[in-house]
């Protein structure tokens, strides 16, 4: 079974936000009204976070994508009272929307702040309901959601592989964010396949993961910028 | 002369039945709690979660409920028996 992971090259990333937009459209993530958004309830499965390092005059600003790290030792699944978030057999952290009771414990437990909550449910703006992705559910209010590495695309890949009587290959599917990155900064694939690009990049000297010391074993690697001062 | 006595008799019987039912209700809750805990341990096994924690907590919780139910039952029947002692 492939161990799906991602590598994001921060040298190539221009923080253009195409990945954010692609993810939102692909996964039917709710478009929150302006007043709700300003109160901190905007919904993103993938965000761009601004990291400030050092102090003036040696400040470095980095804008880094933040998505579900698909931890191998997820702190969020430990605390869910109803098994709505769980570590699946693909080693992907899944979310069962119909089961979630909205207690938001997993949100408090996630150290990466990647989970998002449907504080309310608003209908899409006029015309936007036409672009809803039929492969992905629309979540009701009161449930937690997060990046799934576009699991619906993996399901299609699995079915194709089964139809062709072969195992799922490393290049069989890509999440929407990886597919849409104009700078090719994101690489996705099977971390356990030594021949795959993602596995090789994940072992590069520049590769590091966020909050590694917490022992969550995230599967999203970041390639440090070559001019990093830290 | 016997009419008010008969009414009194049914009244007492009604009260006794209600009291007995309240004890039964408590054991029903205990039974429900046991079924629930067993269900959760089974679910943990099916999902591959750590079972020891589930079993451990179920044992402790069910013991507490059972103890409380037993104390109440002891008091109920103890009081009934004690009263019959006074009547004799």
């Amino acid at each position: 079974m492939p161990r799906w992971g991602m590598v994001i090259d921060l040298d190539r990333c221009t923080a253009c936000g195409a990945c954010m937009a692609a993810c939102k459209v692909e996964n039917n993530v709710q478009i929150v009204p302006v007043d709700e958004s300003e109160r901190g309830r905007r919904m993103h499965w993938l965000r761009l976070l601004t990291q400030t390092q050092g102090s003036y005059p040696n400040t470095q600003i980095r804008i880094v994508p933040n998505l579900c790290m698909m931890c191998d030792n997820p702190p969020c699944t430990k605390v869910c009272p109803v098994h709505a978030t769980y570590l699946g057999e693909d080693k992907l952290v899944g979310q069962i929307y119909p089961r979630c009771i909205g207690c938001r414990y997993c949100m408090a437990a996630c150290p990466y702040s990647v989970k998002t909550f449907n504080w309310s449910h608003t209908e899409p703006p006029p015309g936007m309901d036409a672009i809803l992705n039929p492969d992905v559910s629309v979540r009701p209010r009161g449930v937690v959601e997060k990046c799934t590495f576009c699991y619906h695309r993996l399901q299609v890949a699995k079915e194709n592989a089964r139809a062709e009587d072969r195992p799922v290959r490393d290049t069989d599917y890509q999440p929407a964010c990886v597919e849409n990155c104009p700078a090719d900064a994101m690489v996705f694939g099977n971390l356990d396949d030594d021949l795959s690009l993602v596995a090789q990049l994940s072992r590069s000297a520049r590769a590091k993961r966020a909050l590694e010391h917490l022992g969550t074993e995230p599967k999203v690697y970041f390639l440090e910028r070559r001019d990093a001062q830290v | 002369m016997s009419e008010p006595q008969r009414g009194e008799h049914w009244y007492r019987r009604g009260i006794r039945t209600l009291q007995f039912l309240s004890i039964v209700l408590m054991w029903v809750f205990l039974g429900g709690a046991i079924i629930w805990m067993v269900n959760l341990v089974g679910a943990a096994r099916a999902q591959g979660d750590a079972i020891t924690l589930s079993v451990g907590i179920s044992l402790v919780a069910v013991q507490v409920y059972a103890l409380v139910a037993s104390v109440l039952t002891y008091v109920f029947f103890g009081l009934q028996r004690g009263r019959r002692g006074a009547e004799e």
Partner: protein, 446 residues
């Protein structure tokens, strides 16, 4: 064996509230019902519009509801724990206090237990907890321990109530059926007394570990996550101490309220307040010690994420609330309760009010600042409770008062038979106990 018969003759004052209903009572009940009704409407509005009506947002995904939950469950420790511990230690001054304490626990547990449900995004899916529940989650530990505590404390309230209910059964003609039903055939025979005493003795011991486990488990909800400021090993004992602390303060408020409302000055004497006041002082010092340990450890270690949330509380945005909490929980109670001259009923009233405010602030300071300082550079927002959350808190308090008033309408708020037992048997028993401590005659003569 018990050789006394509780009678209705000497303690008329304790039975009066159950028999006479003043207009003040009806007015108070009406006002409280109005508040509760308004709160219910606000909750229905939340059910319709979703949790957007609260002040919560990302990253502060837990707010007033969880704070109130911890606060109310904390107050529940007063009752049963104090009543049980005082019974175990055979402290004779407990007699007028135990019933009130036990009632506090029963009501406040029910109210507190509702709060996680109010906080849920999908309360209609509550059955999922029973069908798909995971006992690995601290929330399920909470469900188990709070329900166990509720069962144990309700029984612990009920058992000593039986002889009093029997007394009421003899007096009251209006609700006789209720008292018949609840008295379980009590007649005060020696065998019945033996059964009752044995059962109370078992429960008073059993209740203590359950009560300690309840607030420990609630603290685990926070301590078992990796949030900076939450992942601390001291949380278990810290929360238990804080709970007993806030519980005693709430008990004082109830004692003072009933003392004046029902004219119970003869029963709740300054000496009772003195003794319990010393306990409140001890808990205040203990709370201060735990708080000091917690923050010194975080500060000395200097771990970046921990420091961010710690400095945010001590000198950052939450500084005013933090230092108010220290003053309310430590400075004021210790200053007032350390001096006998100030350990009067007005002094205790002031201390109790400040302690309750301070303990609510403590829950707020534990929950929100850690969430407002996530590890990742997340665009943070600042939490302000919305009108819905505030009205739900007010409604919970109103429900608590309402429950208490209704209880006091039907049952004596001070345990009548225990007072009479204290009069007739307590002094002799205490004398016996004390003389057993003194040296034996033969040894002394040498």
């Amino acid at each position: 064996m018990r050789r006394f018969e509780p009678s209705c003759t000497r303690d008329e004052a304790l039975f009066r509230p159950t028999e006479e209903t003043s207009r003040r009572f009806y007015v108070a009940v009406a006002v409280l019902l109005a508040v509760v009704l308004f709160t219910a409407c606000m909750y229905v509005r939340q059910l319709i519009k979703g949790l957007a009506v609260t002040g919560m947002m990302q990253p502060v995904t837990w707010g007033f509801y969880i704070i109130s939950f911890v606060f109310f469950i904390g107050i529940s420790h007063a009752g049963t724990l104090i009543s049980a511990i005082l019974r175990i230690t055979q402290a004779e001054w407990r007699r007028p206090i135990t019933r009130m304490a036990e009632v506090i626990t029963a009501i406040v547990l029910a109210i507190g237990g509702l709060h996680p449900i109010i906080d849920l995004g999908r309360p209609d899916r509550l059955m999922n907890v029973f069908v798909f529940g995971r006992l690995q989650s601290p929330l399920l530990w909470d469900v188990a321990s709070i329900s166990a505590y509720f069962a144990a404390s309700t029984v612990y309230l009920f058992l000593p109530l039986i002889p009093d209910v029997a007394l009421l059964r003899e007096r009251d003609k209006k609700h006789r059926w209720l008292y018949e039903f609840l008295s379980w055939g009590w007649q005060g025979t020696p065998q019945q007394w033996k059964v009752l005493h044995r059962a109370i003795n078992i429960m008073m011991i059993v209740v203590v570990p359950i009560a300690v486990s309840v607030h420990t488990v609630i603290s685990y909800i926070f301590a078992m996550t990796l949030q900076a400021g939450w992942h601390s090993t001291i949380f278990g004992p810290y929360f238990v101490v804080g709970a007993i602390f806030s519980g005693i303060a709430a008990l004082f408020l109830v004692m003072i309220a009933f003392r004046s409302a029902f004219g119970l000055k003869a029963y709740l004497k300054p000496v009772h307040f003195e003794q319990l006041g010393k306990l409140l002082l001890a808990m205040s010092v203990l709370w201060g010690y735990f708080t000091f340990c917690e923050y010194l450890t975080g500060f000395y270690g200097g771990e970046p994420a921990e420091m961010r949330s710690l400095l945010y509380k001590i000198s950052g945005r939450y500084a005013l609330l933090f230092w108010t909490m220290i003053v309310c929980n430590f400075v004021v109670p210790v200053a007032i309760l350390s001096f006998r001259k100030l350990r009067t009923i007005p002094g205790i009233l002031v201390s109790s009010i400040t302690v309750l405010i301070g303990m609510f602030l403590e829950r707020l300071i534990i929950v929100v600042p850690s969430l407002e300082n996530p590890r990742m550079p997340f665009p943070t927002h600042f939490y302000l409770p919305s009108p819905t959350e505030i009205s739900l808190f007010a409604g919970a308090v109103a429900l608590f008062l309402l429950g208490f008033m209704l209880f006091a309408k039907f049952f004596p708020i001070i345990s009548v038979w225990e007072i009479q037992e204290g009069r007739e048997l307590g002094i002799a028993e205490t004398e016996q106990r004390l003389s057993a401590y003194l040296p034996d005659e033969e040894v002394a003569r040498v």
